[in-house]
Amino acid sequence: MHKTVPAAFALVALTACAPAGAASRVATTASLFASALHRQDGSAACALLTDAARSSLENDSGQACDKAVLAVKSDPSGVQVQVWGDEAEARASHDTLFLDRTAKGWRVRAAGCKPQGKDVPYQC
């Protein structure tokens, strides 16, 4: 998991290939995730992570998810959402979230991601 997270998600840009409902649900998940971090509600934030992200966070930090996730910094700013199939990215001014569509709905796979250059994976 990652150390900074965009917190406010005011703008939602829908791509031509993404149903409006999917982009809206992605933005909602991202917004709920940021709100949970603002309230210092680690349990709520962890509930919005994918299983793999939760395991990774716990393994990397050596703490329970609801404690470790609170170290993530939030970064309030506008966000643009793109949904492609079962994957989505929510890009804010300073940070980017990557989300997966799961059986429980959209869940955060990576947060606080920073660009590293064209075609280079984001550092999260």
Partner: protein
């Protein structure tokens, strides 16, 4: 003989290949789903259902990339055999028949026969279009399949990019990408030697009873003779 049996007997070639197509497509969908879900497990993501996979861009791009290359093959073969010949091949015209040929040879306009298609008799623009309609349709199907490949490929590639923590790219960006051209060229490269080898092998080898072959006893030098 019943009407159904007569229909099947009269259209067996089309029906057999359409049936093979459906069976192969079904097999591709099953194995494609299994492969897709294997990767989902590796990536720590949820697996998807068969119905979900059938409408996914991953399945669509895999289907479309093969369709476009097949229609390109037939489009080029139909047009190429108008002007290019291979002496000795039943797939080729005789060298003195190269080109569009005369109206008399093609039975169009005033040379049309009573049972010729109506558009072969009328001439003018409709007749001109009809005289090129097979190549046009194959070319159109190639373009549409290539377009479908590019659109589905953009979606599938963008999902993959996001999974790898990269930003998505535009349709135009995808059509300039290595993924698009690698998928395209690996299909094209397999089509052309298949055609070339069929043309050359049929000079010397025979398949008794097949119209794609010369009669078994026909000389190797015989061109444009089908058995």
């Amino acid at each position: 003989m019943s009407a159904l049996r007569r229909f099947v007997r009269s259209n067996g070639l089309t029906l057999a290949f359409f049936g093979l197509f459906l069976a192969a497509l079904f097999g591709e969908s099953l194995t494609g789903l299994a492969s897709f879900n294997q990767q989902q497990v590796v990536d720590g993501a949820d697996t998807i259902s068969y119905a979900h996979y059938l409408v996914s861009s991953a399945f669509a791009v895999d289907v479309a990339e093969n369709w476009q290359s097949e229609y390109l093959q037939f489009f080029l073969y139909i047009l190429g055999t108008i002007w290019l010949v291979q002496v000795g091949s039943p797939e080729s015209k005789k060298p003195d028949q190269m080109g569009r040929e005369s109206d008399k040879e093609q039975k169009v306009g005033r040379y049309a026969e009573p049972d010729s298609p109506r558009l072969a008799k009328v001439g003018g623009f409709p007749g001109w279009v009809y005289a090129r309609s097979l190549g046009m349709l194959m070319g159109l199907l190639f373009v549409l399949s290539l377009l479908a490949q590019s659109v589905a490929g953009t979606a599938a590639n963008n999902a993959e990019r996001i999974r790898q923590l990269q930003l998505p790219q535009s349709w135009l960006g995808y059509t300039e990408s290595p993924d698009f051209w690698n998928r395209t060229l690996q299909n094209w490269q397999s089509e052309f030697p298949a055609v070339a080898s069929m043309v050359v092998f049929s000079i010397y080898l025979r398949e008794r009873g097949s119209p794609e072959s010369k009669p078994v006893g026909a000389p190797h030098s015989a061109t444009g003779v089908e058995g």
